[in-house]
Subunit: 432 residues, 2 copies
């Protein structure tokens, strides 16, 4: 399978751009980068790119930088439309191919499912689509009957993503022959060919035509990036609301590692403040927890996740937690009991994470996926931080340490027992 | 490749046995189990077993229990020797085969290397061999010239392990035809056939002929099991000397999990004692560290390692460490500084392990193998425990906590920096 990218459009609705539309960044990456990234993930490594005189140099540099093989086809008449661009690509494509636009973004799941079918990929739900602006599709006998923005009787939305056979070029040639001047839309060719439709409904994809949609796409990509997170309850209903808003602003501006450093510093700041002012320290601690997701969100949105990033994030969280508790412990009465409580609280806090992280190292799988019951006992970091803030607001430091010393260690034992039960039942000796 | 096991010998030198020699346990597993376990690991799954009237039932049950396919050949005249046993196996073997004895144990490395060659596997060094008792081999032109216990001019030791072609049966038939009565040794046939030799020198293998050798084999297997451990310096020169001696006694008596529980309880005991008596607590703590390796040694010796075992061992170590320090913290002056020191010490102690364990989870590799420099900064558990004991013996609890608070956290930062440098250099973004 080859990939054919139509990138000769003029993008007039974007206002004055000094860069081709497909190279605008959404979620920290060029629009076309995202699609190409996922296509490559699913084995498509050769591309044909139809460009216009303005976008040619831009795309050549872009593909060069990525080190991806691409053949460029110049459309000297971009005003003749994307159907004409497809027509021009015919000399470079002899096999089945994926046809995609430079102004659409898709999620990985969308592309995975789209590649499982043939024809025009359509979406019945159009979750992220403005109905008024969307291109609609009327289907007959599982084939395209009509396409257009103004259809009132329609079955699907057009996702702008196709899996086609070279047969389509015959129809393109026919349409071009009959119409030697004026715009030829892709829709015309698709309608003429009556290509089959392949339904992929409800997955994330967006058409980015205006500055406004660009902004919205940015935030949608960030939101999509937290979809599969194993969040605790505070994270889900509070922290993520905050962090995704910030991420959607920052995603084009800083790297994931910079975000890690930033949130780490806020965490350390919360500890420093807690030395002097417990309630304020607690609030900043909760703030640091609320923004703690930003690095991951930016990393996933911009397709820049790294194992090192995940590692650092997790280790630095432990530092922040311990530093904050040690700072708080200064407000405990100077007594043996205080030392014991501090020791227990810090131990329990780190060990909650240790039991699950060590699990990944030992068994090579996510503990929360293989043992969902681990989630039932609260005590994840987001929850812990939130409760710590509440105690701090009430200035109940001693009570907090009693609470933590008990709760975190119970959680650790709970984790251990569940893991032991699960894994000893699975049995399985492995020599070596 | 098939496996042919000669298990019709009478094992007279063992004294009176009520069980076939090959089913005696060494390192917690039957002698032949070990060989079969490794052979299967390298893809040999079908076995032919030559038994005598006594051993037949035993071996049938044994293979049944393991669920391994085996064909049994009955030798009604075991007194006619192992050459005769090989001769009897001829009807069941048409392909190349591995020939092995029921009274030899081999390491995994030995078997892996042995399978890479052809003929009689010989060892020039005979590290674990008593020269007087060993069978020697004189070689000419890379083929067996002479085999015997009494050779004075010899090149190799006979390891009792062969990789043979079915050709050997022609020679076996010839020898048997010429000698219709009396003992026929395997050596006679091998000599007659002038089979090639394949050198595998210096790896662990042993011939187990007497009760004494059985005992020695037990301990050797345990010692072999710690060969690749990533031990700290105290472990290497002190703890392992103690633990392997105990393991070689216990390996046939308790399971790895029972050993884990036992050493955990000694660790907890050390904490309980430390509440009342610091020096004694410290000594018991070091004892618990010295015996901490037993579960792993027993698990590896008896081919019973499990991921769960490794997981529990590592988590329970953290519990013991924290419990011991919390117990000790009771002897600190009741002050804010004490709370802080306790918090820092416990945090650092757990985090030394966290940084490396989390590494395994993130990168799926041993941190000590990919970043050897991690070992240069002391602070592994065995070293930490030993130093803690020294402080305890001097009753310097406050000094100990100052020392730990600094040392462990420096070690954590050292680990982090090394890991960051290594991994950020490797670069490599990975999407998803």
């Amino acid at each position: 399978l080859k990939g054919v990218l139509l990138a000769a459009g003029l993008g007039t609705r974007m206002g004055n751009l000094n860069i081709p539309k497909g190279l605008l960044k959404v979620g920290g990456r060029e629009i076309v980068y995202r699609t190409i990234y996922y296509l490559r993930k699913f084995g498509i490594n050769e591309f044909v790119v139809v460009v216009n005189e303005f976008s040619e140099e831009w795309y050549k540099k872009f593909f060069d930088r990525l080190g991806i093989r691409a053949v460029f086809v110049l459309n000297r008449h971009p005003e003749r439309g994307n159907g004409y661009s497809l027509y021009l690509a015919r000399t470079e494509v002899n096999e089945n191919f994926v046809l995609f636009m430079s102004d659409h973004i898709y999620s990985e799941e969308f592309i995975e499912k789209a590649l499982n079918g043939q024809g025009l990929v359509v979406d019945r739900i159009g979750k992220f689509v403005e109905e008024k602006e969307a291109t609609k599709v009327k289907v007959n006998n599982a084939r395209v009957e009509k396409i257009g923005k103004d259809l009132t009787d329609y079955d699907f939305f057009d996702t702008g993503f196709f899996v086609l056979t070279p047969e389509i070029f015959k129809f393109a040639e026919e349409v071009v022959k009959n119409k030697s001047e004026g715009e030829i839309t892709l829709s015309e060719i698709i309608e003429t060919a009556k290509v089959p439709v392949h339904e992929v409904s409800g997955e994330f994809w967006m058409d980015v035509d205006t500055q406004e949609e660009l902004k919205r796409a940015n935030c949608e990509v960030v939101k999509q990036s937290v979809k599969d997170s194993e969040d605790g309850i505070v994270s889900k209903y509070l922290n993520r609301k905050i962090s995704t808003r910030i991420s959607c602003y920052l995603v084009d501006k800083i790297t994931p590692n910079q975000a890690t450093l930033l949130t780490f510093l806020i965490g350390i700041l919360s500890g420093l403040v807690a030395f002097f002012n417990v309630p304020l320290g607690g609030v900043i601690y909760q703030v640091s927890s609320a923004v703690d997701g930003i690095d991951g969100e930016i990393a996933r949105s911009s397709l820049r996740t790294s194992k090192l990033g995940g590692y650092l994030d997790s280790v630095l969280d432990r530092f922040v937690d311990a530093f904050f508790l040690i700072a708080l412990s200064v407000h405990l009465p100077g007594s043996v009991l205080s030392s014991v409580l501090t020791g227990l609280s810090i131990f329990g806090s780190v060990m909650v994470s240790y039991t699950t992280e060590r699990y990944k190292g030992a068994f090579g799988e996510s503990p929360f996926k293989s043992i969902p019951a681990l989630k039932f006992f609260p005590g994840k970091r987001d929850e812990r931080v939130f409760v710590i803030m509440l105690f701090c607001l009430l200035d109940k430091v001693f009570e907090l340490f009693v609470f933590l010393a008990i709760l975190t260690n119970l959680k650790v034992i709970y984790n251990l027992v569940l893991i032991y039960l699960k894994k000893s039942k699975e049995g399985g000796e492995s020599g070596g």
